[in-house]
């Protein structure tokens, strides 16, 4: 018997198990899935919890419900991968031998990486919405918040779902407007990147949205520390942003065992080939989803497209044939923009988000880089698609793994 071990039963790991189980003969292959806990979180839904658009129960389901027969779920904390010995060690002493390993343990917010962030103010004047607990605590806070300066800070790049901070601040604008208190709230987004939008076509189409909503952007702001006594965020070049309510996107890092196993970069993301996800050092280790260090977004849609490519390649690889499929970095993300509207973006390693129609060229029904009600409904429908199609490895109609240029409008930007 051969062992395929998948570390992490999140979006990518669950999809891999579902895609490969029917393709690997059960008399030849065991598939083991290792994770720390039994609950699957619909992470795109965290964004909606602070604004009471979703309730906490909308985003949690048991992991086992999404696993096919013939996949063993092992609950345990991973100590390390001994890559030279093809072995995974758990903290409880269990040792699991593999023939092939897929690392899909994601990336997670690390507030402790920013001095001052974790402390008595955490959960009071300092919040996050990238964790279930954080999103629920922020919903509680916003219910009775009297208004003031709400500052959203991105601590480091890359972080998962890179459009979520924008969505959060758009939804905050919409939420406070509906509560009749928008004039009592100042909204500021601070980012270490050169702007809220950094791609020329997106900037041209969307930057007005921030001005229209009276959202202030502080670009090139790299946070050194947060002073929770005086309620000020300080940057390395000694700029200061005062706040009444700070919503942070903490530094994101991959799992610590990645570092202990010598497989990661400085943020514990696993170094792999960007087209095949194979480790450059070990011919039987792959990394997928947010856990992988890839020059595209860390997002469920990327994991979804990546797993399609990986499945085909993996079957070739174990048969001793060259891998013939290449991942193009395809990502497809709805951006909620408040007031019942949304934007859709579709891009890859080489092509930035462009305007146009999706998925049917010239028809849609979704419009790229444009705010529409239909895009919002697409985002809302995605939760059903996620639980019922995506996680189970079923195809999503008309959305191929490889990005298509058809339907996109090429623009020349001159500066």
């Amino acid at each position: 018997m051969k062992n395929l071990i998948i570390l992490g039963a999140g979006t990518a790991g669950t999809m891999v198990a579902n895609k490969l189980r029917p393709k690997l003969n059960t008399s030849e292959w065991n598939i083991l899935l290792v994770d720390e806990d039994e609950t699957h979180y619909y992470q795109p839904g965290f964004l909606f919890i602070p604004f009471e658009i979703y309730q906490p129960n909308d985003v949690i389901k048991p992991k086992r419900r999404f696993l096919p027969d013939g996949v063993e779920l092992i609950i345990g904390k991973i100590d390390r991968v001994e890559a030279a010995e093809n072995q995974v060690k758990l903290f409880d002493g269990r040792q699991l031998n593999y023939d092939y390993l897929v690392i899909a343990t994601g990336t997670h917010p690390r507030p402790e990486e920013t001095p001052g962030l974790e402390g008595e103010a955490w959960g009071d004047t300092v919040h996050d919405f990238y964790t279930f607990e954080g999103a629920v605590a922020l919903a509680d806070k916003l219910k009775n918040w009297p208004g003031g300066r709400m500052v959203v800070t991105i601590m480091e790049f890359p972080f998962k779902c890179p459009v979520a901070p924008l969505e959060f601040i758009f939804l905050a604008d919409s939420y406070f407007t509906q509560k009749g208190m928008r004039d009592q709230v100042e909204l500021t987004l601070a980012t270490p990147l050169p702007g809220a939008f950094t791609k020329p076509v997106a900037e041209k189409h969307l930057s007005q949205m921030l001005a229209d909503r009276d959202i202030k952007v502080v670009p090139d702001f790299y946070t050194e520390m947060v002073d929770t006594d005086t309620n000020v965020v300080m940057s390395y070049d000694e700029e200061e942003i005062p706040y009444d309510l700070l919503v942070t996107i903490p530094v994101n890092m991959g799992a610590d065992f990645v570092d202990r196993s010598g497989l990661g970069d400085e943020l514990n993301h696993v170094k792999v080939d960007k087209e095949t996800f194979l480790s450059p050092h070990y011919n039987n280790i792959f990394a997928l989803g947010d856990a992988a260090a890839l020059p595209t977004s860390k997002a469920g849609s990327v994991a979804h497209f990546a797993v399609d490519i990986f499945t085909e390649n993996f079957l070739e690889h174990i048969a001793g044939r060259p891998m013939t499929h290449r991942f193009d970095g395809h990502a497809n993300c709805f951006i909620e923009s408040g007031y019942g509207k949304g934007i859709l973006i579709d891009f890859n390693y080489d092509v930035e988000p462009l305007p146009g129609k999706f998925p049917l060229p010239g028809i849609g029904p979704f419009e790229l880089l444009t705010e529409t009600r239909m895009n919002h409904w697409g985002k809302m429908a995605f939760r059903w698609i996620y639980w019922n199609l995506l996680l189970k490895g079923r195809p999503i109609p008309m959305v191929p793994a490889e990005m298509k240029m058809a339907g996109k409008e090429l623009e020349l930007i001159s500066t």
Binding site: L193, F197, T198, P219, Y236, D237, V251, T415
Partner: protein, 105 residues
Amino acid sequence: MTTKEIAGKTIHFDDSGFMADAKEWNNEVAVELAAEIGINPLTEMHWQVIEFCRQDFLANGDAPNVRRITKQAGIPTKQLYKLFPKGPAKKAAYVSGLKKPTGCI
């Protein structure tokens, strides 16, 4: 896409105003690009950062972020900000002839 004469060479710039082709870069180009954004002269420490950024870009296809530069090139963040004030990742990428560090959108 625009072109400019820099250090006797025709250099192509992308829509963000960053060098479009890292291969057109050389040390003389770096000196002029740095001077243009107020960094003059380029010290040994500057070159250490520039060399790391170029190597990393060639290996990974992306300009490195601040954390990556500080951890891998061994330069404390405060020092990096003194070398390339107000946005060191962006400025180091500019002087190194690399694409602007960007998000997905």
